[in-house]
Point group: C2
Chain length 192, copies 2
């Protein structure tokens, strides 16, 4: 509404903001969520107080960083067939777990989900948005008559998202995208 009432003294240095954010992102990949606040300040080449002035708690700092990390756009495939498009989406979902550092980070983030509802909310929303963005794939498939129009599409989505998260989290071998798609589309029952 009203513009800020013109702050009196020295103003926060945007460069410091940037240096802190960069340091956190670097440390996220390098040390995971267990970085210390001193490390953040040191890596940023910044005073400890400057960190705590921006982020009241370490949790706030991590939440801010996670918001950035989770906000990654994904391309929407259009291969012409549902199987092709889905294969692409599944493969994209798998990509995160192929890189060791990203996989480790993902594990920790999914982990944090279990103890901090706000993190859970972040991840949930982010996954929902990400998946919803590829909803066109389903719509096109229904128009083409490849996909049952009465199916629960969130169920379909969560089946492979869950599979990947589950295997990734527990360190199991990741599935083959083609086989996942085939199974999801045609099921495991004998085609009678």
């Amino acid at each position: 509404m009203s513009t800020s009432p013109s702050p009196r003294g020295r103003r926060p240095d945007p460069a410091v903001d940037a240096k802190i954010r960069a340091a956190v992102l670097e440390l996220l990949l390098q040390r995971g969520l267990e970085m210390t606040m001193d490390e953040v300040a040191a890596h940023a080449g910044v005073g400890r107080a400057s960190v705590f002035r921006r982020y009241p708690t370490k949790r706030d700092l991590l939440l801010d960083a996670l918001t950035q990390v989770l906000d990654v756009q994904v391309a929407i495939p259009d291969t012409g067939s549902l199987a092709g498009d889905l294969r692409q989406v599944v493969a994209d979902t798998l990509a995160v777990w192929r890189d060791d550092r990203l996989a480790a980070l993902s594990r920790q983030v999914l982990g944090e989900t279990g103890r901090d509802p706000v993190v859970a909310d972040l991840v949930r929303t982010s996954m929902r948005d990400r998946m919803a963005r590829s909803w066109v794939v389903y719509e096109r498939a229904i128009e083409r008559g490849e996909l049952r129009p009465d199916g629960d599409l969130w169920l379909l989505t969560d089946l492979f998202a869950g599979l990947v998260a589950y295997r990734g989290l527990l360190g199991l071998d990741l599935p083959d995208p083609d086989e996942v798609v085939r199974s999801l589309l045609h099921g495991f029952a004998t085609t009678g």
Copy 2:
């Protein structure tokens, strides 16, 4: 192999063991993994040293407790049809997330999975064992001609285990067992 070389002094009191274990299990449901060692000792009505004598670190204590918790036997269904049996297995898998306290604990345990590989190993093994125990369901179904004999049964298993874990972990609404089974057996593609 050789019997213990006859310990010299006073011997560990089994009652203390039991009191500690009980206290940990109680605290697990009540406070999650964030209990303190003092709380454990206090709840057990036992000296702090007695706890640390048995468990070198808090992690060891939790690992022991988790081993107990994860070692829950599950009944193997035999309803006569694959759909019925599977429905039962899925419902059993869901049961954990229906109780609030168990759900909270499961979230934290799945979470710990992300930061401690040994916990991941515990959970992985436990899930594998648990699922393998209901492998008969698949074998019977194949004999009855209900299940494709060339399907990747671990994929089938992990699809619903992953779905449930994923939704449970993120706090999403849990799926309807019947719909899950139907989707897994017949797929989402138009039956053409």
